[in-house]
Every structure is written in C-alpha cells, then in structure tokens.
C-alpha cells in the first residue's frame, strides 16, 4: 500500500499537468463554463455505435483517462438514453442497427441534440454503400469529423457544439 502512495505522489495529477498542451487547458475551461451555463453544470451523453470500426469508441473511452478526465468538466457518459441530453452517434448506420439507434434517439427526452462522431457517420468515410448500410438519417445537430477523431478533437468538437448555443 505504501508503495502505491509513493507512486501516487510521484506521478502527481496528470490532468492538471498540461504543460504539453496549453490550448487544451483553455478549451477545457471554456467547456466547463458553458456546461454550467447551458446545462446547469451537467451534460449527459448517450453514446451509440451504429456500425463503426470501434476506434471511435476507444477514443471516447480515452476521454475518461487521467489526461482528459472529461467528467471533471461536467460532461458524462450515461447508461440510459432517458438520462441523456445528447446522443453521440458513431458508425455507418447498418441495416441491423437502424431501428435500435432510432429507438435510442426516441427515448431521449426533449430537448435533445444529436452529435455524429467520425467521418463514417457523416458520409461513410472510406466505406462505400452496400446492401447492409443505411446511413444516418436522424436529424443531426453537430458533427465531429476525424477517422477517428482524437480525444482532443472530440473535446474541441464538444466546445464548438456548446458555442453554438450563444447564437
């Protein structure tokens, strides 16, 4: 146990150790303010994969690692669509996921926003239309590009989305 605490103190808090990225620090501050202003300090996201390659999911998971720790800014991924404000949708929207994704969207109480994540949710990215792909046809409010978007790009995207509320 002692060893662990030694390690813990030596490592410090990596979230705040942002010498390598001042830009991100400013972004995170602005996000926190905006979430406070528009979502009473709590923005709940329901992530749905409609047929991605799983890299977008890996990057979303990375948002919770000690470097980014998104929860700290008031943004959290929730287990139920009924707890969500935002649906984050990745993937090409396969035929087999079509109705399930729609169900999730319908279960989110209004007001709700749909953010698509990654190139293939927008225009299939490098993929091409096949019999098994339907494509996203839900009302999209914002798109975060990238293949996959890195955690930093996702954070930047979320900020852009929040800035949209000012208009």
């Amino acid at each position: 146990m002692l060893r662990f605490w030694q390690k813990r103190i030596k490592t410090g808090i990596v979230t705040e150790n942002l010498e390598f990225d001042k830009e991100l620090q400013n972004i995170q501050k602005e996000i926190k303010d905006k979430v406070k202003k528009y979502f009473a300090g709590s923005l709940a996201i329901r992530m749905v994969d409609s047929g991605s390659c799983n890299a977008c999911e890996a990057e979303c998971n990375a948002l919770s690692n000690p470097y980014y720790d998104l929860e700290r800014l008031g943004i959290h991924f929730v287990a139920s669509p009924r707890h969500a404000d935002v649906m984050l949708l990745s993937g090409v929207m396969t035929l087999n996921m079509y109705h399930h994704a729609k169900d999730v969207y319908n279960q989110i109480p209004s007001p709700k926003w749909l953010i698509t994540l990654g190139d293939c949710a927008k225009d299939l990215g490098v993929f091409e239309k096949t019999y098994a792909i339907k494509g996203v046809d839900l009302p999209v409010d914002f798109h975060i590009p990238g293949c996959p978007p890195s955690p930093k790009e996702i954070i930047k995207g979320l900020l852009e989305f929040l800035r949209g509320f000012e208009k």
Partner: protein, 454 residues
C-alpha cells in the same frame, strides 16, 4: 484438426464451399439449383456461425445442422435475398416485415431471462447477450451478433486491391495493424515479391505496439469491472502514453494506413518509452498481485477448459490462457527477436490477466530487438490472379485472411477475425458463474464486434 474457417464462393456455374483446417484445405462443389451440403457443426461447433452466415449470404442449406436460424439477417432484414451471390448487386434494400428471432432460452419454474443489448450501458460496440438465469446463477447464455454487419466482403468485390487497403485498415479499429499486415502479405504474394527482413521487422514492431496498447487497456478495464478503479486510472494513462507514441512514430493514433512499402521508425522515440513502460509495468504487477480481494474475483471465474478450447478451436489470448500453445508468432522470425509463448493453466480470468501482463513484457523485449535503421526498398509487382491466404497474430488472436484476385481485381475477400471463433466459445465459460461476473469475463477476452460482424 483445428477448423480455421468455412466459407463459400460463387463460381458462376456452382457454389464452392471451402473448409480451411490447420493441416489441410477441403473444397466442395455445391449445385446452384439444389444448394445443399452436409454440416460439419456436429464435429466443429465453431462452424455454427460460419454455416449460418453461408446460408444467409448464399442460400446454401446444411443438412444435419441443429441451428438454422439466420445470423446476419436480423428481424427486419429481407430473408429472400442472398447478398454474396454474384447476381446480387443492389446497394439499397428495403426493410422486410418484422420476423421474430428465437433465442436459445431455458424455461422453468423461477427461471427468467435477462436480455442485454444490442445497445449497452457503457461505451461499447453493439451486440446482444441473452441470459437465462436462476437467481444470480447463469444457466445459459446466447451471444448474438452481426448488428454491425456492413457488408465488407461485398464492398471488396470488383475493387483494385490497392484501393481496398484503406478499408482494410478500418475493418476493426483495435486490430488495424494486424489487418493491414495480413493484407500486405497477400498483396506481396500476389505481386510475386519477397518482403525484405527490415520491412518485416518494422511491421512487427507496429503489430507489437498495437498489442501493447490493447493489453494495457484491458489490464485497466478488467480490474475496473471488479470494482478496482485505481488500476483503470493507472493503465489508461499508460495506454494513452502508448497511443501517443504510436501517433508519433506513425502519424496516426491507431496506425490506420501505416503499413506501407516504405516505413521509417524512429528509435529515439521508441526506446525511452519502452524503458519507462517496463518499469511502470513491473510496479503494476508487483502492486496488483498483492490485492487479495481482486484475485478473489479473478480466480475460478470464467474458466475456459483446455478441452473446450480445443473443441472450439479457440485462438489467441483465450487459447494461451487455457494452456494451448497457439500463436502465429511461434516461428523462426519471431524467435530470433526473443518471442516466448506465454501460457496460463486454467483458462480463468486470472490466467488471461496474467498472460496479458507477460505478453506486454515480451512485446517490449521484442520491439527493442527489432528496431532497425535499415531501409530496404520494396515494391509490389503486377498482381497475379489466384487465391491467397495469410495469417497474423492480432492483439486478440489468429487472424485469417483470404483473397481471390481475378483480372487484377478482387473476386472474393474473406476474413475470419479471431473474435469470431472466441465469441462462439465464450458461452462455455460462464456456467459456474453469476451474472455479475459477466462483464469481467467479457473484458478478459476483450473481443472485437466490428471484426466479427464484418
């Protein structure tokens, strides 16, 4: 004999079904007017999904098969089309009326069913798990997949192999490098070239980097599913470090589109990272082994017996944790750089966890031995028509790829992801456990849904 894959092809005048075993390849001609073939599922249980898929894609019926339910054709997928036949070229199909899928369920007094998925509570890929429960004890589990079925095989057909590379990169994100190497090997075979040793080494370095990232992520998530969040914080920091290194040496965090004819790997970036990782991992191992409440959950949980693993032909970490010597890297090339096969004993969550730790150490050692500044030129020749196969040990297990080239274009492309086999054996591991152990067992295998569904 171990079954690697059973898949079909449309040969214009007839269908061909190909069985790939570890020791031989069998081919069957199937009449198009009466597409019937005998099942092999009674001997090879992992052929169940393979045959169900062939039935869905080509309309071939298997006699003697005990599971004829559709696999990729879900409730609203039209059942009367056969998308991998050559005469099917529709890009847009309409939904069919809802047709119920009958899950394998156990019924009885006090027995109830817990359906989980396809959309899960966390940030995970979609798949469905149907549990039959007696209280907390799991009586049966059916794993149902193919929600993410994108029709990759059809997408490949008629394409120039070089153009298809960017899609191969993105079939399964966490195994991208493995997929690219498998495809590269096929292209090299078809192009009549021999991949120079230095290029092979660089490819192998990236493959080991991918494995390190994957294992580190799991080493965090497995304890986290047992309620030990500190390990997740520790490991997700390390895996983020590793991903950033991957981005530094390849220009992409997942290594998409990086396996090329010419590659450079910077020793100055890699070496300090590996030295540090080794130290961190030594600390982690020392620390985590001392937490008895964690091993209480890991030990005896999710046991995959050696016997079952052999029966299903389980591959990768799953097989090695059960004590099976099964690794594509078990060859002269890798041995030269310090490869040592890492085996477990009982196939429990604890074994898979320990195997992952040992494999990261081994990967670090191999990368250190493989780093080379040498730059040998390589170029693909003209692609010759024919059938080509390749095997690569991805971070999950043995990846099998098959491609037929005709008139320099892709005639048939088939991949059997390691997950595809392991998902089918998965249900055999839960019978002595309670439903709360499921996330733990699931994470200890950490299989791909995207690679499985194609």
């Amino acid at each position: 004999m171990r079954l690697i894959a059973r898949f079909a092809k449309d040969k214009k005048d007839f269908f061909e079904v190909i069985d790939v075993f570890d020791k031989e390849i069998k081919r069957y001609k199937v009449d198009k007017n009466n597409p019937v073939l005998e099942t092999i599922t009674t001997k090879y249980p992992s052929a169940i999904w393979m045959e169900r898929i062939i039935k869905d894609e080509f309309g071939i019926e298997f006699t003697g098969s005990f599971d004829n339910r559709p696999a990729i054709k879900h409730e609203r997928f039209p059942k009367d089309i056969f998308p991998l036949r050559k005469d099917f070229n529709d890009k847009e199909i309409n939904f069919a009326p809802f047709e119920e899928y009958h899950y394998e369920e156990i019924s009885g007094d006090g027995v109830f069913v817990v359906p989980v998925g396809p959309v899960h509570a966390g940030i995970i890929e979609p798949g469905h798990f149907q549990f039959s429960q007696a209280g907390e004890e799991i009586l049966h589990l059916e794993v149902r997949h193919f929600y993410k079925h994108r029709g990759i095989e059809k997408m490949a057909e008629g394409k120039n192999p070089l153009e298809f590379r960017k899609i191969v990169s993105r079939i399964s994100g966490n195994e991208s490098v493995a997929y690219q190497i498998a495809f590269f090997e096929i292209l090299a075979k078809a192009g009549g070239g021999v991949i120079p040793e230095s290029l092979k080494r660089k490819q192998a370095i990236l493959l080991e980097m991918e494995r390190i990232i994957h294992h580190l992520t799991d080493l965090g998530f497995i304890p986290n599913d047992a309620g030990f969040g500190a390990a997740l914080s520790f490991m997700s920091k390390l895996s983020e470090d590793a991903r950033r290194i991957m981005a530094k040496i390849t220009g992409h965090r997942f290594g998409f589109d990086v396996i090329k004819e010419n590659m450079q790997i910077n020793r100055k970036i890699l070496n300090p990272f590996l030295d540090n990782l080794k130290k961190e991992l030594e600390f982690f191992e020392d620390w985590i082994i001392d937490i008895p409440s964690l091993w209480d959950r890991f030990d005896t949980t999710g046991a995959l017996s050696k016997q079952k693993a052999i029966k299903y032909g389980v591959v990768g970490v799953g097989a090695r944790a059960s004590g099976i010597k099964m690794d594509v890297r078990d060859n002269i090339f890798y041995e030269k750089y310090g490869f040592k096969i890492q085996l477990g004993k009982k196939g429990e969550v604890a074994d898979r966890f320990k195997v992952r730790i040992k494999e990261v150490f081994n990967s670090i050692e191999m990368i250190q031995n493989m780093i080379t500044e040498k730059n040998e030129e390589f170029e693909f020749g003209e692609f010759e028509d024919g059938e080509y196969m390749s095997f690569v040990e991805s971070s999950i297990g043995e990846l099998f790829m098959y491609m037929e080239i005709k008139d320099s274009l892709i005639e048939r492309f088939y991949v059997r992801d390691p997950s595809f086999i392991n998902w089918q054996a998965f249900h055999t591991t839960i019978y002595k456990d309670i439903i709360a152990d499921f996330p733990l067992i699931n994470k200890s295998f950490d299989l791909s849904y995207a690679g499985n569904d194609l």
